[in-house]
Symmetry: C2
Subunit: 127 residues, 2 copies
């Protein structure tokens, strides 16, 4: 059944550009990114996927990492965006801007039809 109330319907590989953007704003380790990802629709879940994605980005040379020995807990792997990663981010941003335009088209036509409906049948069950 899988009955979600609204379900986000985020873009396809959205996690990757989000990570690149966040790392561009500020280098970080995975656990921290998990928190900073929330405003982008990732509800704090799935650390596994996050780390996997980070390792993949590193494998592609888009981010680099180094261990940081922590004095109060286990060592962390600090991720940093590379120059190639920034270029990738630019490209993805272009694609996402286009996706937004497409979404606008969709939502525009959707709402247009809703408005039309309302005009045809005003106050269907009222009074």
């Amino acid at each position: 059944m899988t009955m979600d109330p609204v379900l986000p319907a985020l873009p396809k590989n959205f996690l990757r550009p989000c990570l690149l953007l966040l790392l561009r704003e500020q280098q970080a380790h995975g656990y921290e990114l998990l928190e900073r990802l929330r405003p982008f629709g990732f509800e704090g879940s799935d650390p596994g996927g996050l780390y996997r994605s980070l390792r993949k980005l590193e494998g592609e040379g888009l981010v680099s990492s180094a261990w940081e020995p922590s004095s109060f807990g286990p060592a962390r792997r600090i991720y940093e965006i590379t120059r190639a990663g920034m270029e990738e981010l630019h490209d993805r941003a272009k694609g996402l801007a286009e996706a937004r335009r497409t979404l606008d088209t969709f939502l525009g036509r959707y709402e247009e039809f809703v408005a039309l409906r309302r005009a045809e049948a005003p106050a269907p069950a009222r009074g």
Copy 2:
């Protein structure tokens, strides 16, 4: 390599809501939908996926179909949206509106950073 110039990065199940919207505007057969889908970022490709999606929608009761005997070519299957399909469309539209908000967040922060950059290093190579 598979280097797409921009790559659309559309939402995950975007085809489905698009089909529902198009069928809500006007009933149609598959081949026609293939054309009408273009403004939504589907470059006329993959008829297979389209038909599969349509059959699935029908299996879920969101669209219904009937054969229309054509006098000048092979018969076509005409698809029509059902009431359940319209409700599904409403739900998806909510989700997509949320996705657009998320995209706005992303692009806002992205451009913010780009602008900041430009302020730091104004006119790098300009006569």
